[in-house]
Amino acid sequence: MKVLFDNVSKHFFKQENRTLKELIPSLLKGMRPGEFIEALKNINLKFNDGDIVGVLGKNGAGKSTLLKLIAGVTQPTSGKISINGKIAPLIELGAGFHPQLTGRENIYLNGSIFGLSKKEIDSVYEDIVKFAELERFINTPVKHYSSGMYMRLGFSVAVHVPFDILLTDEILAVGDIDFQQKCIDKMISFKKQKKVIIFVSHHLETVSSFCNKGLVLDKGKQYFYGNVNEAIEKYKELL
């Protein structure tokens, strides 16, 4: 078992009157200064080796919050999460890239953000550059990169980090058709290695062909979790 959610809820406190000028009159009028938003309610999940989970839900259903909780960047309000294994967040590619630094420097910077040592990055460095097809530009500051090159580099670093659990958020639309095919091939190879992949997407065809499990979230509630095709049917009921 790689990921376990035991009755997990996450609330946000949304404060509407943040400045003093707004806060004081609203308190005088007896209004509450803010409200709790339940982003996720009583989620119970278990992901095992080889689970490729498609996460479906409308905007605001809690999909991003779920990924953030698994990535460990935010804490649950109640309940318990246990994670066994290394996580590769393939969300917001190139987060942490610095425009003034070269492609090479950014590979090392990004690799270390994912928790790799210099040695570990050295050993995958060539593969990263080759996969991103950036051999000619690797010593150029990334601010001169096209947005496609930037995304390719971000994707390439992220998928060359050794991991057990991969989090993705609509990222298979990187680069041109050829590169997209390479990304899909890469994902299929992860699937064969029995990695856990959590795949947030609105693209139902991709979800049904790629995933074997489906999770449907509706306004923070766990609407369905199980077989991917059933999940897609359930999701369609919500629309």
Binding site: F12, Q100, E105, S112, K118
Partner: protein, 261 residues
């Protein structure tokens, strides 16, 4: 404190990379590049030396030219202020990282502060040049300088942890700091020797760690009496206290960073 240093050790390669990103990126697109690190405090010193020795006559002490006197106060002061203002903004600037990847957030703060220490060391080379030029005698106490500097860094880290965490919730902190530092600057004997303050008010300066530390740094360089151990012990205790408190609050709030940034 042990947790803190252990985290730094585990994530040393990330710390190294974030620090070098901070250093490399700053003057990347400028002709003079790193020279700005030397030029800025130098100009600052020249202007202050001009104003405060021509218009308002402030005496120097330690038998050294007033310009060197100011410079030895400005360097640690700039280190202190830039460390804190940069780290306070650093969490906000690294929003995309904070929302996506988990690693102990104190690495970001520490990297920012180390980058400022690097600036300080570069700017100190100018001071060494001055000391040679004016044939200033160096005190044997100079070996204590790294220790005093370390205490100052601990104090700065503590405040940085506290303020950077609070600034994520209320950005008022970063605006408030400008005014606080302005007052604090004049409450610290940078432009004037501590002896100018009447004896009975001097305890105020003793409670200001920056005042004690800057005075101690001057003494380790120029001699002129022993280090005032009582004041230094107060400063050390305050610095450790602030470090513990800042780090404790920082770690308590860390889990909420991604929600509020």
């Amino acid at each position: 404190m042990i947790t803190y240093f252990r985290n730094l050790y585990i994530h040393r390669y990330l710390l190294y990379n974030l620090t070098s990103r901070e250093i490399k990126s700053r003057y990347a697109q400028s002709i003079l590049g790193y020279f700005w690190i030397l030029l800025n405090p130098l100009f600052q010193m020249l202007i202050m030396a001009f104003v405060f020795s021509f218009f308002i006559k402030i005496p120097s002490s330690f038998n050294i030219p007033y310009s060197i006197f100011i410079y030895t106060g400005l360097l640690p002061w700039n280190l202190f202020v830039y460390s804190i203002t940069s780290s306070t903004n650093s969490l906000v600037e690294n929003e995309s990282l904070i929302k996506k990847v988990y690693f102990p957030r104190e690495i970001i703060i520490t990297a920012t502060v180390i980058a400022k220490v690097y600036d300080y060391l570069l700017a100190s080379t100018v001071l060494v040049g001055f000391l040679f030029y004016y044939h200033v005698n160096i005190s044997p106490l100079i070996f204590f300088l790294p220790l005093i500097l370390f205490i100052q860094i601990l104090f700065s880290l503590g405040l940085s942890f506290l303020l950077s965490a609070l600034n994520l919730f209320y950005r008022d902190i970063q605006y408030l700091m400008n005014s606080v530092f302005l007052v604090w600057f004049y409450l610290t004997p940078i432009l004037y020797p501590i002896e100018m303050i009447p004896e009975r008010y001097r305890f105020v300066l003793q409670l200001n760690p920056m005042s004690v530390l800057i005075n101690a740094q001057r003494r380790t360089i120029f001699g002129g009496g022993d280090l005032n151990l009582n004041s230094i012990i107060i400063a050390i205790l305050l610095s450790f206290g602030i470090f513990y408190l800042g780090y404790f609050i920082f770690k308590k709030l860390e889990g909420l960073f991604a929600d509020v940034v």
